[in-house]
C-alpha cells in the first residue's frame, strides 16, 4: 500500500488532528475554573490554522486516494475552506450561548460534534464512490441531529431533533434504495464508471435518479421535501440553526452538482426537467410562507428554503460557469446568513426575544446591530452594492445562458417578493417605534429570569468580543465580496462542469 496517497487527504487529516487535540483538551481542561482557557479560543484558533493550511496548497492540482474512492480537486478545497470559515464564525457566535450555566459542561461536546459534521461534509465533497458519499453524508447528518437536540431541558429542541432525525433517516432510506438500483443497473459504484455506462434507456437508472434527487432534496430542503425545515430551524438552538442553514445545506448543494455531472451526464434532460419544477416550487412556496411568519428563526427557515432554490439554479446549467456561480453564491449566502444569525443569536442571548415584533424600535436602542442586520438582509435580498446582488446576478446569468429564460424570470419575480419580507424586518427595526409594540411578549426561553417582562424595545446591551469578530467577518464578506471581483475570478479558474468533467477525471487518473 502506498502511504503517500494520504497526503492527498490533507484537509481531512488536518481536521481530524484538530478534533483529536480538542478531544484531549476537553478531557483535561474542561470543568472547574479553567473554562476561560478552553472556551471558544482554542477551537477557533485551531480551525483557523487548519483553514489557512487548507487554502494555501489548493493550487497544487488534482489527486486521488484509495483507488479513486477519494477524489481531490482544487475546487473541492475551495468549498471545504468556505465551509471551515463558516464553522469558525459559528463557533464565534456560539460563545455566549455556550457560556450559559447549563451549557458550560457541554461545550466540548458541541465543538466535537460540529467538527465531526464538518469532517463528514469533507468526505462527502471529496467522494468518488457512492460508499464514501453515503458515509460522508450520514457522518454529516447524524451528529447534526444531536446538536439540534442540544438544549436538553428545552422541549422544542427535542421535538426539532426528533423531526430532523426521522426525516433524515427517511431520506437516507430513499437515497440508499436509489443507490442500490444504480448499482443494479451498472454493476459499479465508482462515479466515473457509472457515468460511462448509465443511459436514459435504462429504467432502473431513471428510478435511481429520482430516489437520489429526493434523498438529496431532503438534505438541501427543497420544496416537496422541505416540511421538516421550519420546525427544526425554530426548535434548534439558534447557533445550530445558523450552521444547519448554511454549512449543511451548502455542502449538500455542491455535492449534488458534482454527483449529477459525474454520475448522470447521460440523463441530463431528465434531471433538468425535475429540477426546473423543484426550483420554481422551492422559491415560490417558501416566499409565500415566509411573509406570514412572526418567529424570526422560522422566518429564516423559509428564507433559507428559497435561497436553496436559487442555489440549485446553478446546478441547472451543468457547465463550469454554473459551478462557479454556485460556489460563489454559497460563499456570499454564508456570510450574509451567518451575519443575520449572529445578530439574532446575540439578541436572543441578551434579551431572550426572537419574534419579529420584538425588533420594533431596535434602531433606537441598538443602532449598530440593526445596521449590521440590515446589511445582511439587503445582501440576502440582493440589493446592488452588496455581495448578494452579484451572486444572484452570476447565478441568473449562468442559467440564462443555458437557455432557462422562463425559470430566470420566475426567479427574478420572486426576488422582488423576497425583498418585501426582508424589508419587513428592516421596517420593524427602523420605522416602527416602541409605540408599535401591540404584540404581547412571548417567552421562548426555558429559564424565566432571562425574559424581561416589558413592552418597550429591546434594551441596549454590549456585544461580546467573539460575536463582534463573527459579525466583522460576515460584514466584511458582505461588503468586500461584492466590490472585489477577485473572489469570483479565483473560483472561476478552478471550476469544472459537464464539458470539462471528463478531462478533470482523466487528470485525476493520470
Amino acid at each position: 500500500m502506498d502511504y503517500s496517497q494520504f497526503l492527498n487527504m490533507q484537509a481531512e487529516l488536518s481536521l481530524l488532528a484538530v478534533i483529536v487535540i480538542l478531544f484531549v483538551a476537553d478531557l483535561f481542561m474542561c470543568g472547574d475554573g479553567k473554562k476561560g482557557v478552553y472556551n471558544t479560543c482554542l477551537p477557533v484558533v485551531l480551525l483557523t490554522i487548519h483553514t489557512v493550511l487548507n487554502i494555501c496548497p489548493c493550487c497544487q492540482g488534482a489527486g486521488e486516494a484509495f483507488g479513486g474512492m477519494y477524489v481531490h480537486t482544487p475546487m473541492m478545497s475551495i468549498v471545504k475552506s468556505v465551509l471551515a470559515v463558516g464553522t469558525i464564525v459559528t463557533f464565534l457566535m456560539a460563545h455566549k450561548w455556550l457560556s450559559r450555566e447549563e451549557n458550560l459542561i457541554k461545550q466540548g461536546e458541541f465543538y466535537l460534534i460540529t467538527l465531526f459534521t464538518l469532517l463528514g461534509m469533507y468526505f462527502m465533497i471529496s467522494s468518488g464512490h457512492f460508499l464514501m458519499f453515503f458515509i460522508g453524508l450520514e457522518t454529516a447528518s447524524i451528529p447534526m441531529a444531536a446538536t439540534v437536540a442540544f438544549d436538553k431541558n428545552r422541549y422544542e429542541s427535542a421535538e426539532a431533533g426528533a423531526k430532523f432525525i426521522l426525516l433524515a433517516l427517511f431520506s437516507a432510506g430513499l437515497l440508499l434504495y436509489g443507490i442500490s438500483l444504480i448499482y443494479g443497473a451498472t454493476g459499479t459504484l465508482y462515479f466515473d464508471e457509472i457515468g460511462k455506462t448509465l443511459t436514459l434507456s435504462n429504467p432502473l437508472a431513471l428510478l435511481g435518479l429520482v430516489l437520489f434527487i429526493s434523498g438529496m432534496g431532503f438534505k438541501i430542503s427543497l420544496v416537496p421535501f422541505h416540511l421538516w425545515t421550519a420546525d427544526t430551524y425554530e426548535g434548534a438552538p439558534t447557533v445550530v440553526t445558523g450552521f444547519l442553514s448554511v454549512i449543511s445545506k451548502g455542502s449538500a448543494a455542491f455535492v449534488l452538482f458534482t454527483v449529477l455531472i459525474k454520475v448522470f451526464p447521460e440523463l441530463v434532460g431528465a434531471w433538468n426537467q425535475a429540477f426546473m419544477w423543484i426550483i420554481i416550487f422551492s422559491i415560490t412556496v417558501a416566499n409565500v410562507f415566509a411573509v406570514r411568519q412572526n418567529n424570526l428563526k422560522r422566518f429564516m427557515a423559509f428564507s433559507a428554503i428559497s435561497q436553496a432554490g436559487y442555489l440549485v439554479l446553478g446546478v441547472m446549467d451543468g457547465t463550469a460557469q454554473g459551478m462557479t456561480s454556485l460556489v460563489f453564491y454559497l460563499l456570499v449566502y454564508m456570510v450574509a446568513n451567518l451575519g443575520a444569525f449572529a445578530v439574532i443569536t446575540t439578541i436572543e442571548e441578551n434579551s431572550g426575544k426572537i419574534n419579529i415584533s420584538d425588533y420594533n424600535g431596535l434602531y433606537s436602542t441598538n443602532p449598530k446591530l440593526s445596521f449590521l442586520m440590515t446589511l445582511c438582509l439587503f445582501s440576502l435580498a440582493g440589493i446592488p452594492p452588496f455581495a448578494g446582488f452579484f451572486s444572484k446576478f452570476f447565478i441568473f446569468m449562468a442559467a440564462f445562458k443555458a437557455g432557462w429564460h422562463w425559470l430566470v424570470l420566475i426567479a427574478l419575480i420572486n426576488t422582488v417578493i423576497s425583498l418585501y419580507y426582508y424589508l419587513l424586518i428592516v421596517k420593524a427595526m427602523y420605522i416602527k417605534g416602541p409605540g408599535f409594540t401591540e404584540q404581547k411578549l412571548v417567552s421562548i426561553s426555558a429559564d424565566n429570569d432571562r425574559v424581561m417582562p416589558e413592552d418597550g424595545p429591546i434594551p441596549t446591551f454590549r456585544v461580546d468580543c467573539y460575536t463582534r469578530t463573527a459579525l466583522f467577518i460576515c460584514v466584511a464578506g458582505v461588503v468586500l465580496l461584492g466590490i472585489c471581483g477577485v473572489a469570483y475570478n479565483c473560483i472561476d479558474s478552478f471550476s469544472y462542469g459537464l464539458d470539462k468533467v471528463m478531462e478533470v477525471c482523466t487528470g485525476c487518473c493520470k
Binding site: E138, A145, A146, A149, Y155, G161, L166, L169, I179, Y183
Partner: protein, 102 residues
C-alpha cells in the same frame, strides 16, 4: 434457485411497507421500525445484485455492511432523542409533537 425477480420483489415490498408505516404510524418508535425496514430493503437489493448479477467482486455486500452500521448509529441517536422527549412529555406519540407548526 430462486429467481432474481422474486428477491427484488421482497425488497420492493419491504421498501413500500416501510414508507407506508412511516406515513401512518402514530408511535415514533414504530416510525423508527418502518425506517429500518426501508434501509434493510436497500441492503437486500445490494446483496441480491451482487450475488446474482455481478458475482465478480464484493462491492454490493460491502456497501450493505456499511449501511447496516450506519443505520445502527442513526437508530441510536433517534432513540436517545426519543428518550429525551419521553422525559418531558411522558409519551412518544407523533401526535403530541405538535408544539411547532406552520
Amino acid at each position: 434457485m430462486i429467481s432474481i425477480e422474486l428477491l427484488l420483489l421482497v425488497s420492493a415490498v419491504m421498501l413500500f411497507a416501510g414508507i407506508y408505516g412511516f406515513l401512518t404510524r402514530k408511535s415514533t418508535l414504530a416510525i423508527l421500525l418502518s425506517i429500518e425496514l426501508m434501509l434493510n430493503s436497500a441492503d437486500i437489493n445490494f446483496a441480491v445484485f451482487n450475488r446474482m448479477v455481478y458475482p465478480n467482486g464484493h462491492e454490493g455486500v460491502f456497501f450493505a455492511i456499511f449501511a447496516i452500521a450506519i443505520a445502527a448509529a442513526e437508530s441510536a441517536i433517534a432513540i436517545a432523542i426519543m428518550i429525551n422527549i419521553y422525559r418531558q412529555l411522558k409519551s412518544i406519540s407523533a401526535d403530541k409533537l405538535t408544539k411547532m407548526k406552520w
